[in-house]
């Protein structure tokens, strides 16, 4: 297959060897799990259990609500001990509504009915089963998978691009999954193709994962619909926009969707989750997560229950050695710094990274020397130096003019900057201020509307009063005239 190229990009040191060679280990559920009700884009799920309830593994804990949402299931059997706020897996550490589940240690499954053959169902029904299993995009987008499939089917997508690029340094969860469970992934891809009613799928894998390429190629051998495509190892090849460009030479239109190009991108982890849900009635209650970094004693991949705390995951990998300079959820290019060890992993968590000071490279920024390296590496064709210069002095319109809304926050610019300027930080800041500004504008517009309404109402009342008074006057006059007439 002819490959195209995407713009810019960087070659960060992979560091994948730390965890790539150990097989996936299954982590038994810890004594207590904290399962956030919002692990996805959209509205939080609505809890259907109460404190004190006993639940079984795989039982529905919270039902997705509204158009965009996802259900949440119990990762093990036990008792619900709390439903309330708990630290969110986010840099702010702000609380999110969370179900706390104390394990009974039995890990007892819910009674599951034998499943019908998915290919005997309608595509919509397959999508509905995917939705019921609470599956969201597992590459980090966290968008409900069924919704994405339905929209793409309506958009008549012709190709499903299965993203096994895994371009983030350190991360190896997709690599290990592809090496060890290739057949499951390929089955998931077939199910998704059916739900999509699309004729073909390409599985894109970066050329730094020869074992995964070999095992995936073997698993889809002989299937005319599915093929493996080896893509060059360059960050951010795994970003949906860049992957589409790499595969087709087409660009997702600004403000449009990836499906406008005829391609739908889904992560390999999502395909595997679909396989498990539709073949084994196994809702999304666990995932493969890479526990790695120079500060981790035994870096490796775990199949861990959703809701396990970062400290439990690290403890299962032998704990940390030495001082942890940075604790991240996700890879070093786009991962979120975590403010505390007591943060639960969620459906979109691909890795936990504990970096030593040497790895974290904490340096002080120096002035921009306008070398243009950020422009050279930007995969979106932006001028990060100009955007950050404007964001720094609160010139939001200037930053927008230079394409702030097109930035995908991949961090290539800040990675390459010789002055070590935290460019992405400036963009995030500017976006925050922009959102606040839009909210304020919305609010003042709303206030103005209400004020106008009130004034119109008052004016109407005033007018009605005046009309009533005039009517009374007229009636009085009439009555007077009638009286006078009668008297005359």
């Amino acid at each position: 297959m002819k490959l195209f190229d995407f713009w810019g990009g960087v070659h960060p040191a992979g560091q994948k060897h730390l965890s790539a060679d150990q097989p996936i280990r299954i982590m038994p559920p810890p004594a207590r799990l904290h399962i956030p009700l919002q692990q996805h884009t959209g509205l939080p799920a609505l809890a259907v259990v109460k404190v004190g309830d006993s639940v079984l593994k795989g039982q529905l804990l919270a039902q997705g609500q509204g158009a965009v949402s996802a259900s949440v299931h119990a990762p093990t059997s036990g008792v619900i001990t709390a439903i309330g706020d708990f630290t969110a897996p986010h840099v702010s550490g702000l609380p999110l509504p969370t179900v706390t589940l104390d394990s009974d240690g039995e890990d007892r499954w819910l009674e599951r009915e034998p499943l019908p053959d998915p290919f005997a169902l309608e595509p919509e029904q397959v999508a509905a089963q995917i939705a019921e299993a609470g599956i969201v995009g597992m590459g980090g987008a966290n968008f409900p998978a069924a919704l994405k499939l339905n929209k793409a089917r309506q958009a008549k997508v012709h190709t499903l691009a299965v993203n096994g690029a895994e371009c983030e340094p350190y991360m190896t969860c997709d690599d290990r999954l592809m090496r060890e469970r290739a057949a499951g992934i390929v089955d998931g891809v077939r199910l998704m193709l059916y739900a999509l009613q699309a004729p073909q799928a390409v599985i894109a894998i970066e050329d730094n994962k020869p074992e995964a390429i070999a095992s995936m190629s073997a698993a889809c051998h002989g299937d005319p619909q599915i093929r493996v495509v080896v893509v060059p190892s360059r960050y951010p090849a795994g970003s949906a926009k860049q992957l589409i460009q790499l595969l087709t030479g087409l660009e997702t239109p600004a403000g449009g969707r990836g499906t406008d190009t005829g391609i739908l991108v889904h992560n390999v982890g999502t395909a595997y989750a679909v396989h498990r849900a539709l073949r084994q009635a196994h809702p999304l209650i666990s995932r493969i997560v890479t526990i790695t970094g120079g500060a981790v004693a035994e870096p490796q991949n775990l199949e861990a229950p959703i809701g396990a705390l970062v400290e439990d995951l690290l403890a299962f990998c032998g704990g940390v050695t030495g001082e942890v300079a940075k604790l991240l959820m996700g890879g070093p290019m786009m991962g979120q710094p975590l403010p505390t060890w007591q943060t639960p992993m969620v459906k979109g968590t691909n890795g936990i990274l504990a970096l030593t000071a040497a790895e974290a490279q904490l340096t002080t920024p120096s002035p921009c020397i306008r070398c243009g390296r950020c422009v050279e590496v930007c995969p979106m064709g932006l001028m990060p130096l100009e955007m950050s210069k404007r964001a720094r002095c609160d010139d939001l319109d200037g930053a927008l003019d230079f394409g702030l809304i097109d930035c995908i926050s991949c961090g290539s610019c800040a990675y390459a900057c010789p002055s070590h300027i935290p460019l992405v930080q400036y963009f995030e800041y500017a976006r925050g201020v922009l959102e606040a500004r839009e909210r304020a504008e919305q609010k003042s517009k709303e206030t103005r509307r209400l004020l106008d309404q009130r004034q119109a109402r008052l004016a109407r009342a005033e007018q009605a009063k005046a009309e009533a008074a005039a009517r009374r006057q007229a009636e009085k006059r009439q009555a007077k005239a009638a009286k006078a007439g009668a008297a005359a």
Partner: protein, 364 residues
Amino acid sequence: MNLHLPSAPHTHAPDSVPRIMGLVLLAVAPATLYGLILFGWPALSLLLVTVLTCLLCEAACLSIAGRPVKPFLWDGSALLTGVLLAVSLPPWAPWWIGALGGFFAIVIGKQVFGGVGQNLFNPAMLARVALLVSFPVEMTTWLGPHPLFSSHAPGLFDGLAITFNGIPDVDGVSGATILGHVRTQLGMNHSLSQILPGHFQPGAAVLGWTGGSLGETAEWLALLGGGWLLWRRVITWQIPVAMLTTVALLAGGFHLLNPDRFADPALHLLSGGLMLGAFFFATDPVTSPTTPIGQLVFGAGCGALVYIIRTWGGYPEGVAFAVVLMNAATPLIDHYLRPRIYGRTWGGQSRPVKRPPTRPGESQ
């Protein structure tokens, strides 16, 4: 746990401003060393005076401005400015030319704008232009090769005397550069076929066995250093290639029209500071455009100006003027010549998808 919370990325390319400055210094080192050997002790004294003045001025300005002196002094930018200024000066120029130039480059050219990264003009080129306009005699006193330890080269003490006391027998050693000679002779209505024989030997010009500024004579060493910078990805190809190609095309075109009036491209490419300018001065990141297309325009503009000044302007050499003039145009270029944004047209509108007739993957 000592947590740092700024946003991603949390890893970084092994690169820094001091590293970039160091690589450029290394790249210009061969041409500089060659110049020092070719012109002997006075050239070394001038280089040292220029560099020391730059460092002193940088330190003084930083401390007056209340900024940290050490990190900025050690970023290597002032050192590089000093070396680049020195290599663009006549090698036997008096010490105060170097000192004044260094002062002008750092204080007026850089620090009044706000220090590293803030200056509009390349400090070394700005200083060279200021010196040339203010002290035309000292800045155009050229001499032929006087290689170190050769019989007619000055010794260490004579060399010091030349730098700090003046050249004892100016008329005895000095001569015009090839570009200056051509200009004077053309002014006397001589044709190039009369002027050049015996004066311009392309071989000697490439090797650098000729008069000129301290570091500009050996074109091949400048080319070597520039090529190395390209290979190390410190600079990009757009500016040097556009600049050299423009000069070559203009020179070639006019030479074809009138070979007696307009010198051929080889003379233009192999004379004066063009090579050094194309790889070391025009590519100064701070003062050149940041986008590839802007860099092409900038390089072509530099090349065109060099040719125009050399051919019709008031000075025989125009690299410094060309670079400084294009520096002034850099903000404009960066404002108008932006890259196309992914998913948008050049005008910034959303770019509709043209779906291919065949499905991707079917085309082999």
